[in-house]
């Protein structure tokens, strides 16, 4: 391989360049197009004869035929090392706060900065001795990043066993300092620092085995944990039309989900929404650790007006960061909002490449790309024997709110849980608008299957009665059916609906969900002896009101006990009547 591999631009079409190259190029390698003082980052996406097609991660205005392109011979990669947490990156891992210090209000084209702080010092503790045999991903030492042990690992790219020939003593070091020297059997040497690079489109796979995800990832959202659970290391998607509350739900998950590290990928969505996270997370406390939420978060922010090609890269950047922290035995959660924008970025590029289009002009490889992405989730047993996981939740924004479109369909094939948001529910202001009859999950719930089956039966029967009542009116409905309908509405109001903006109701712990759900089931089971519909309606309204107040009461408070007693009394009143 030689340096200074270059080419010249022969065509510009939107953010795609056609480049004639001199010697050789590698598929997916990074290149820079040079215009005046600016160096614009690109990626090779197709090679034909002496011509390579490159997607540019920037606006292409001002580029000319004949301009020079430099190839780097490296795939698009991210920097992995201590200090990633709390940071805000764009899709190519440029730190946005540092960019702002240089270029002010606007993002300057061609300005790239290191993702990590190379000046900061970390207290390093070695974990191996000279002579030890290590392979890719083995721990050599650690630094404390917030509350986590951030391990310095043998580079993921190593093959076979290497011997530690030098290891740095405990002390303060910068991330680019030499931490260890490894030697292979063939005598090659490699210097290990706290930082390593990894190409984003290739999964990190230095672990023993993948394990079936079975343990629920508690999100503190009642509808999810009880009815449509997500497993640690599992995958889920939240499709929904605009205004159905996708983003509010994603925010709630990013706040309340019981994961160690949360990576939020704002991919082609509104900048305003990310700003809320950026400004609020440093203020909000993570109840599990007592630290701010920001200290467990990384935000990848490639909003809708930022360059499209970088949007495509942003989800890969995000999942690679998750995999990196997984290697340290942590449970990570990736929330991508929205994967449809990522798919659209693929579509734009496919169109420019003049590929034969599939459905709705999405490329034919859409399904396999989406499947490969979600497959990067998983619960794994690491070399150390510890478990680590990547859980992926993707928001989907189907065109026209129609779930039949290609991105939703391709996603549904590969995820373990489907939380479908419905316009019907959001119009009725029933939040979260997860549709209780259409959604599904393959993962085990936090309550027993029998109760769940009972509750779902109640919901579907209630919905049938409601449909019937629209035709024959309340007068024509018999009282037993009417009570089933009221029970299903009750379940909806007191359990499925949850006010994210309330401190207590917004997050319901696992124990509390189990406790409250048992109470709900006892009401669904109860035989009420009503004969008058108006009285029945009133009774359920009153019961509902007490129950909702109960949801708003903190679990240890006196109010909680009083309201529970009130619910029991009310139930007695109804069953004795």
């Amino acid at each position: 391989m030689q340096d200074n591999n270059t080419g010249t631009i022969v065509g510009v079409n939107g953010n795609m360049l056609t480049v004639e190259f001199d010697t050789f190029v590698t598929q997916n390698e990074v290149a820079y197009a040079i215009t005046g003082e600016e160096r614009l980052k690109c990626e090779v996406i197709r090679i034909r004869g002496k011509l390579a097609d490159l997607q540019v991660f920037e606006e292409t205005g001002g580029l000319k035929v004949g301009d020079k392109v430099e190839f780097t011979d490296e795939l698009l990669s991210v920097e992995l090392g201590p200090g990633l947490l709390t940071r805000v990156f764009d899709g190519l891992q440029n730190p946005l706060n540092d960019l702002a210090e240089i270029s002010g209000f606007f993002l300057q084209r061609g300005l790239y900065l290191p993702a990590l702080d190379y000046e900061a010092e970390w207290e390093f503790t070695p974990m191996v001795e000279v002579g030890a045999k290590v392979s890719a991903g083995d721990y050599l030492g650690y630094v404390m990043e917030g509350i986590f042990k951030h391990y310095t690992m043998a580079p993921f790219k190593l093959k076979e066993e290497w011997e530690v020939t030098e290891i740095t003593a405990a002390g303060k070091y910068k991330i680019a300092d030499k931490m260890a020297l490894l030697k292979s059997r063939k005598g090659e040497e490699i210097t290990v620092t706290m930082v390593q690079n990894w190409p984003v489109k290739i999964p990190i796979s230095t672990y023993k085995e993948k394990i079936l995800p079975q343990k629920p990832l508690i999100t503190q959202q009642r509808t999810i944990d009880t009815f449509f659970p997500v497993a640690v290391g599992g995958t889920f998607c939240t499709p929904g039309p605009f205004g159905a509350g996708k983003t509010v739900l994603q925010h709630a998950l990013s706040q309340y989900a019981e994961a160690d590290v949360v990576v939020v990928a704002a991919c082609g969505e509104r900048a305003g929404e990310v700003v809320e996270i950026l400004r609020e997370f440093p203020e909000l406390e993570d109840p599990r650790t007592g630290r701010t939420l920001m200290e467990r978060s990384i935000i990848i922010c490639n909003t809708s007006s930022m360059p499209v090609a970088a949007r495509e890269a942003s989800v890969y950047t995000a999942v690679t960061l998750c995999e990196y922290y997984r290697q340290m035995g942590l449970n990570t959660l990736l929330l991508a909002d929205s994967t449809s924008r990522w798919a659209q970025a693929l579509r734009e590029m496919s169109g420019r490449l003049e590929e034969i289009p599939g459905e709705e002009a999405f490329p034919a490889y859409l399904e396999s790309v989406i499947a490969a992405f979600y497959e990067r989730a998983g619960l794994v047993k690491l070399n150390s024997g510890e478990l680590g996981s990547v859980t992926i939740g993707g928001a989907v924004s189907p065109a026209g709110g129609n779930f039949e479109e290609p991105v939703t369909q391709a996603t549904l094939k590969v995820v373990g849980a489907f939380l479908g948001l419905s316009r019907e529910r959001s119009d009725a202001r029933r939040f979260p608008a997860i549709h209780p009859l259409d959604s599904w999950s393959h993962y085990p719930s936090i309550v027993d299957d029998e109760s769940i089956a009972k509750a779902r039966q109640c919901l579907s029967r209630g919905s049938e009665v409601n449909q019937m009542m629209k035709v024959i009116g309340e007068e024509g409905t018999n009282i037993d059916d009417f009570i089933i309908y009221l029970k299903s509405e009750f379940l909806d109001y007191v359990y499925l609906q949850q006010n994210t903006f309330d401190d207590v109701d917004g997050a319901t712990s696992e124990e509390r969900q189990q406790y409250v759900f048992a109470k709900v089931i006892s009401i669904l089971d109860a035989k009420f002896k009503f004969t008058d519909k108006e009285k029945t309606r009133r009774y359920f309204l009153e019961l509902r009101q007490i129950f909702i107040n109960w949801n708003y009461a903190a679990q240890e408070s006196n109010e909680f006990k009083e309201l529970e007693a009130a619910i029991d009394a009310k139930m007695k009143e109804g069953t004795d009547a």
Partner: protein, 430 residues
């Protein structure tokens, strides 16, 4: 002096192709034909073939005509002298006054760094209860009015512009009927607001390519004013024409269409315009209000659908009224806690009761029995429509809140409203 090229090798739609060297992507050129001189922009480079979209259209261009490259991309003046003036989509004055060539800036500039954005916090008062009370407009918001042809969306835009407390109004007209342009001009003139207005007007009779420039011109000027500390309101009417113009060019360029003929990058194109709405930390702000007519009143049509995913809510204008359902201001939570303590409660209660009224109407039309509660709702619904939804109502927020309490008291007793007792104590009319 730059080189002049004479070899136009292809003319298709509004796109011409010329053989030339050393031309930069996005740069401008002047095309001189027997019908006059027009600007054109480079939209594709392919070896020595340069594809240009001609702003004035390709009609009358001959293969022997001159193409002269200017060596810079599309620009617009950001001078204060723009105020009170009217321009066409490509920046040429339409008001028979002098051209303005100072402080030229490029259009379609880079995106704002998300890390430098702030959470918006200032309400924009419009005097329209359906907006102020129920879906508060917030400074730096981007909001479309979803409507159909024939609805008074332009009148609504003009009215909001006049009543909003902003420093500068920038109107971007795309495919406007000439009458509508005159309407905007006269309305702003009568209100004495013309001197703080800049207009970029593309009328339905103008060449379609110019339509595509309008949002970028308007927003580039808005951005430069906002950076100087001005609070700018940008009105764009009608974004559907903008998207249709994009479709036309995309088809001419033989791009593979994605959905109903629209190009695959429709979302990104719309987003890069709407996302210009911003509140700067220590400077001004840009608020964007756009009219989007829904073809066939279909909100799932690609234009309103993509728009809805980009903007921070939407107003539905139907039968001359802003619909209470479906209309949404995603930013209202940022401001309506600090207006008056009863704002959120009145907002929720009145909408909930109006929804009940709609249900009762349905029951009534099916011939079911009307209870006493139903007749209360029927009375309430009529009052709500007359006092709150009618667009001729023009009262400040506080008065609208008071009117809300009066209306509730006229129709219901206290418990029926379901409002918390401390608020009832404070506000219920005695």
């Amino acid at each position: 002096m730059r080189k002049v090229y004479h070899r136009i090798i292809q003319i298709a739609g509004n796109v011409i192709t010329v053989e030339a060297d050393n031309v930069a992507y996005n740069d401008l050129a002047e095309v001189s034909s027997s019908l006059g001189t027009s600007l054109a922009q480079v939209i594709r480079l392919d070896n020595n073939k340069v594809h240009l979209q001609v702003f004035a259209g390709s009609r009358g261009i001959s293969t022997g005509d001159e193409v002269r490259f200017l060596g810079y991309p599309m620009q617009v003046s950001s001078s204060e002298n723009l105020l009170g003036r009217v321009f066409s989509g490509n920046g040429v004055p339409r008001d028979n006054r002098a051209e303005i060539k100072d402080d030229m800036i490029a259009i379609g500039g880079p995106s704002v760094n998300p890390a430098r954005r702030i959470i918006p916090k200032n309400m924009i008062r419009t005097g329209i209860p359906m907006i102020d009370l129920f879906n508060t407009l917030v400074e730096s918001q981007k909001l479309p009015i979803f409507s159909i042809a024939g609805e008074p969306y332009n009148a609504l835009l003009a009215r909001i512009a006049l009543q909003a407390e902003v420093d500068v109004i920038i109107l971007g007209g795309m495919g406007l009927k000439y009458d509508d342009y005159l309407f905007f001009r006269n309305t702003l003139d009568e209100a004495g607001a013309l001197s703080r207005t800049v207009m970029f007007i593309h009328t339905a009779a103008d060449p379609v390519v110019e339509c595509m420039l309008v949002p970028d011109m308007a927003l580039a000027v808005a951005e430069s004013y906002a950076l100087k500390g001005k609070r700018v309101l940008v009105l764009l009417s009608d974004m559907t024409n903008f998207a249709d113009a994009m479709k036309e060019i995309a088809i001419t360029m033989e791009q593979i269409p994605s959905n109903r003929g629209y190009p695959g990058d429709l979302y990104s194109q719309l987003a890069s315009r709407y996302e210009k709405a911003v509140d700067f930390d220590d400077a001004g702000s840009i608020t964007v209000l756009a009219a989007t007519t829904m073809p066939g009143d279909d909100v799932t049509h690609p234009i309103p659908d993509n728009t809805g995913y980009i903007t921070e809510g939407q107003f539905y204008l139907r039968n001359g009224r802003i619909e209470p359902f479906g209309s949404l201001s995603r930013l209202k939570q940022q401001v309506n806690a600090d207006t008056r303590s009863d704002h959120r409660v009145i907002m929720d209660t009145m909408i909930r009761l109006y929804a009940d009224f709609k249900e009762t109407l349905e029951k009534q039309s099916m011939g079911f029995q009307m209870s006493s509660w139903d007749s209360k709702l029927l009375k309430y619904g009529d009052l709500f429509e007359a006092r709150m939804m009618d667009l001729s109502v023009n009262i400040p927020l506080e008065e609208a809140l008071d009117l809300g309490w009066t209306t509730l008291a006229e129709c219901f007793d206290q418990t029926e409203t379901g409002i918390k007792s401390d608020l009832l104590e404070e506000y219920w009319p005695k």
